[in-house]
Amino acid sequence: MHRLAFATRTASAYPALSERIEINGTAGFCDPLGGLHLPDLGVLVVSDLHLEKGSAFARRGMMLPPYDTLATLRILEAIITRHDPKIVISLGDNFHDRRGSSLMPPQFREMIETMARGREWIWINGNHDPDGAMTLPGTSMDVLRLANLVFRHEPSVDNPQGEIAGHLHPAATVVRREKRVRRACFATDGLRMIMPAFGVTTGGLDLRHKALTGLFDRPRLVAHMLGRDRIYSVPFGNLVG
């Protein structure tokens, strides 16, 4: 995971090699750390943090490393430091399951409190955590409308215009010289955007998967793939998978 190494080592020193895009006419920058910066609105969007995923699995007998929450929060710290947004929007599945936010160790709670100081924090509710984030700074809600954009967890079928959603963990694959490279990506056709999952132990769903059919105008769909220190933008037609 290049993001973690990159964020913890060099985030503040490096210039952000983001990719400029537009959603429903609003300018945004896809940051290779996995967040979307909307400078005109002073907003930073992240999605699918899946905090406390390790411990959720451990409760069911799979002892995944208990370091995923810390790692995700470190990258979040780095990207917030980089853009210093007025508003942070976390697009749902903030915690891996319902009990996640109440069982989270105090040190992580404190990290989030520090990050939220001096800015507004919106927790959009997801399917993994429909009850909202408990005892954390910020506001929980299902949908947020801001300017000409709509922020929700699951992409809607009928109203793509200006929608920024998560839930699907889009990833894209390219093949060059018989080698396959698969990366998480921002997926947008200019009308709506589906965000990559921000959490460090979250897998991806291929953009060509049937769960994503019908959501985009495919001729205009571009995968902005997360590289080591920059975004690689590849049109849908050039992907495989």
Partner: protein, 842 residues
């Protein structure tokens, strides 16, 4: 050594009961000396290893002590107290267990022995398994995985309490893998459940029999304990030749297309031929090539592990009935399934190891006293030398089977959980039991404790999972499973064979409008990652057919008939053996000694003498390095002869160092024989100036920090980690076909690896991963030995152009690039295409 019962040892060596003597007499046979020898030594209380060539009556020898003992015991009267199994037979293959049942039942029925024999494999129905537990057979034929399942059961103690003998078939192939490690741990538990049990190992010839002899008995610190050994030599020497044709032997490649007419001719002149290759993709190609020239329509079949089971069984049956003239096969047929008369073995491509060649040749002709016939077909000029070395080795009887190796830690974790599932365990007792298994004899108490901790809570320094522990130490000092679901989960994930996700390949029809029809015949399975590189319309070679990829529907890959002559070939992971150390040394010797060149074909002789005049032939213990310009690049070729894996690791490490020295290396390619690195700067000039010197460049210290730094970002290590994590029970194996969405992974091993490495680099599972990689994919051990060997024996030749010896590897360039680290470069290429399109559009 086992204790010997003096009373039994004193008995006459021929102690066969009457039904046996009668049976041998009726058949007009006599028991062979080694069969009686084995019987009497086992009866004397020893555990034994029997090494014998194919066709020597090994199987009967292995079962003779059991059959005699069971005959003496007689039938158990109905209504007697429960009696557990008497003999356990373990084979590496399900098919072999089934085959042996058939072969063993024949004499048992003919002699009228009161013996019940049954097999138990993954295919055995649930009802039969239940019955076997309630009413065990006398002899149970099974596989290592089934043994592990039986041992993790609460009734194991009862089931195995009467066990007298354990027979291990094809022991040489079992012991060197993780399966062998798991089996050795299972054996250590069997010894505790049935302390007087004896083992009998059956094996082909190996380099170091003592390794296996120790494996068979309980190890005691500072004592030499090993089973007895009976070696059956003899059998006629095989008649091996190297294919000579008038055709030009190519410089590189692995297909041997030049030799096809000659190979076809040999098939036509022989009754039944078995053709061996090293990989499944080679098998597909060879099969295709033979059918293109099969003017006589000879029945030639294809057999490899990815094909549909039904299809494989049909080939096996046709072969047993002598209906086929030839079968193209991979290592799936290495092991001793008896399937009819084979008159000749043709090995296409070099066999890569002397013992492997011997075992494959053994497949021709199961009658021990007639010589086997074999032809080796080298695919390129280096392979000519390799084939010659293998042929010499076979004549001398030299062996190069790998050593048993140290027990893997992920396997140990699986076993510890299994033992907790069977019954609460005392850690001291379990530790003592485990170090009695030879692969784990050196296991430290501290490591054992870390493994127990890993099984319980993941073994993390951040102790947050205590409340979720899978096993817990209770007040009586015993460890027990926290709840019954843990045992259930364990049973579903047992085993050490991790398959990469595969999809079923199904043939469909396309109608006139181009839409895809209903599903037809299933052809077998192909790796998911290969399919992900295909777009609909691409063609590839599989199951001997050219197929057109139509798409993926649920868990199946749909294909239709393809009509093209230039299909892609699945490049399967694995199955590509590196050149054995022994053969490598022989090839080096051959190269260095001009007297040896006389045995080689003229084409190869000419090539070597050109090399001698133009540059230099490396001496036996010397590392020859050539530097030369070619095109716009500067090249450095090292002739290390240590196998592809070790060369690949060396390439990774050298490019790092060259990069640091400012020599701007761009890429490298590795073969079994040499390594080529290319870059923008003239490396030869830099070496002459000592910036850096070759001695410094090849210093053993590259295995320190450079290796560590590279490993940390290497994709190879991630693949190894995934296997370790599954075997150790950290993540569950994807069960192809059983997943909901088929291609959606809930937990990605790669992501877990990254998180673990950055937060707890000393974690026990990372240690297990590094140990594995060192012996497996990276072959660091071999690289280390080589660096030591060539120290101050490096010979640099600075040339103005490509040397004859460098030609083969120069032809490989372009087929591979630096993997892993180059990923972002490929992404950039894909993104730049967009840029170019945009520019073109304006």
């Amino acid at each position: 050594m086992n204790q010997i019962d003096p009373a039994r040892a004193a008995q006459s060596p021929i102690a066969l009961p009457a039904p046996f003597l009668r049976w041998f007499a009726e058949k007009g046979w006599r028991p062979r000396a080694h069969q009686l020898d084995l019987l009497s030594r086992v009866q004397g209380g020893e555990s034994m290893l029997l090494i014998a060539p194919t066709g020597a009556g090994k199987t009967l020898a292995g079962f003779l002590p059991s059959l005699v003992s069971l005959t003496e015991r007689g039938k158990i009267p109905p209504g007697s107290a429960f009696s557990g199994i008497h003999t356990l037979y373990i084979s590496p293959l399900k098919a072999l267990a089934v085959d042996i049942e058939r072969n063993l039942m024949k004499p048992v029925t003919e002699m009228g022995l009161p013996v019940r024999i049954e097999n138990r494999t993954g295919d055995t129905p649930q009802a039969k398994r239940q019955r076997q537990k309630l009413n065990p057979p006398d002899i149970l034929l099974t596989t290592p995985e089934q043994l592990a399942l039986l041992l993790a059961n609460g009734e194991a103690e009862r089931f195995f309490k009467d066990l007298k003998y354990v027979v291990f078939d094809e022991l040489h192939s079992l012991v060197t893998s993780k399966r062998g490690h798991l089996l050795s741990l299972g054996l250590s538990r069997l010894r505790r459940l049935a302390p007087s049990m004896q083992t009998i190992g059956l094996s082909a010839t190996v380099a170091d029999p003592m390794d296996l002899q120790r494996w068979l008995v309980a190890q005691v610190p500072d004592e030499d304990r090993h089973a007895g050994l009976i070696t059956v030599t003899g059998g006629a020497k095989p008649e091996i030749s190297i294919l000579r044709t008038e055709e030009r032997v190519p410089w590189s490649g692995h297909q041997a297309a030049y030799a096809m007419p000659a190979v076809y001719e040999a098939i036509r002149d022989t009754k039944t031929t078995l053709l061996f290759v090293n990989t499944r993709s080679q098998a597909e190609r060879l099969f295709q090539e033979l059918w293109t020239i099969n003017d006589d329509n000879l029945p030639i079949a294809l057999h490899h592990g990815s094909l549909d089971v039904g299809q494989r069984r049909r080939v096996e049956a046709a072969m047993a009935e002598n209906k086929l003239r030839a079968v193209v096969a991979t290592s799936t047929l290495d092991l001793g399934i008896d399937w009819g008369d084979v008159d000749m073995v043709i090995h296409v491509g070099a066999p890569k190891g002397a013992s492997r060649l011997a075992q494959r040749i053994g497949r021709a002709n199961h009658r021990m006293d007639e010589p086997s016939r074999a032809i080796l077909v080298p695919a390129n000029r280096f392979e000519v030398m390799e084939c010659q070395a293998a042929l010499d080795a076979n004549y001398l009887g030299a062996q190069d089977t790998p050593p048993v190796g140290r027990g893997a830690l992920d396997v140990l974790a699986q076993h510890v959980l299994g033992m907790a599932c069977a019954a609460p365990f005392d850690p001291l007792e379990l530790y003592a039991e485990i170090i009695s298994a030879s692969p784990y004899a050196d296991l430290s108490w501290e490591t054992f404790e870390r493994i127990v901790d890993f099984v319980a809570t993941g073994g993390y320094a951040l102790r947050t999972y205590e409340r979720y522990a899978k096993i817990r130490k209770t007040a009586d000092g015993l460890w027990r499973v926290s709840n019954p679901q843990i045992a259930q989960q364990y049973r579903l994930n047992i085993g050490t064979i991790i398959e990469s996700p595969m999809l079923n390949v199904r043939m469909v029809k396309r109608n006139a409008r181009g839409s895809i029809g209903r599903g037809g015949m299933s052809l077998g399975k192909v790796e998911e990652y290969f399919l992900e590189m295909l777009s609909p319309g691409d063609t590839f070679l599989f199951s001997g057919k050219v197929l057109r990829f139509e798409g993926i529907r649920e868990n199946e890959c749909l294909v239709s008939q393809g009509y093209t002559l230039d299909p892609k070939v699945p490049s399967y992971a694995g199955g590509k053996f590196p050149l054995s150390t022994y053969l490598a040394a022989q090839v080096r010797k051959m190269l260095a000694d001009p007297n040896h060149h006389a045995t080689l074909p003229e084409q190869v002789r000419d090539w070597l003498s050109l090399q001698k005049d133009f540059s230099r032939l490396p001496k036996e213990d010397e590392l020859l390095i050539e530097t030369f310009p070619h095109g716009k690049r500067h090249f450095m070729v090292s002739y290390a002869f240590e196998g592809r894996l070790a060369h690949q690791t060396l390439g990774m490490l050298l490019t790092r160092r060259l990069d640091r020295a400012g020599l701007k290396p761009l890429g490298f390619v590795a073969t079994d024989y040499s390594l080529a690195i290319w870059g923008l700067e003239d490396m030869g000039v830099a070496f002459k100036k000592g910036k850096p010197s070759l001695g410094a460049l090849f210093d053993e210290d590259m295995l320190g920090d450079d290796l560590e730094a590279w490993l940390n970002e290497s994709f190879l290590l991630k693949r190894t980690f995934r296997n370790c994590a599954v075997i150790a029970g950290l993540i569950e194996q994807r069960h192809p076909g059983k997943e909901k969405s088929g291609r959606q992974v809930t937990v990605s091993a790669d992501l877990i690896y990254d998180v673990l490495r950055s937060h707890e680099p000393d974690h026990i599972l990372l240690e297990a991963t590094r140990n594995d990689a060192a012996t497996g994919l990276l072959d660091i051990g071999r690289l280390g030995d080589m660096l030591m060997r060539i120290k101050s024996h490096i010979r640099h030749q600075q040339l103005d152009r490509v040397s004859p010896l460098a030609v083969p590897i120069m032809l490989e360039i372009g087929r591979e690039t630096v993997a892993g680290e180059a990923q972002d470069i490929l992404l950039a290429e894909a993104a730049d295409e967009l840029m170019n399109e945009i520019k073109a559009g304006h």
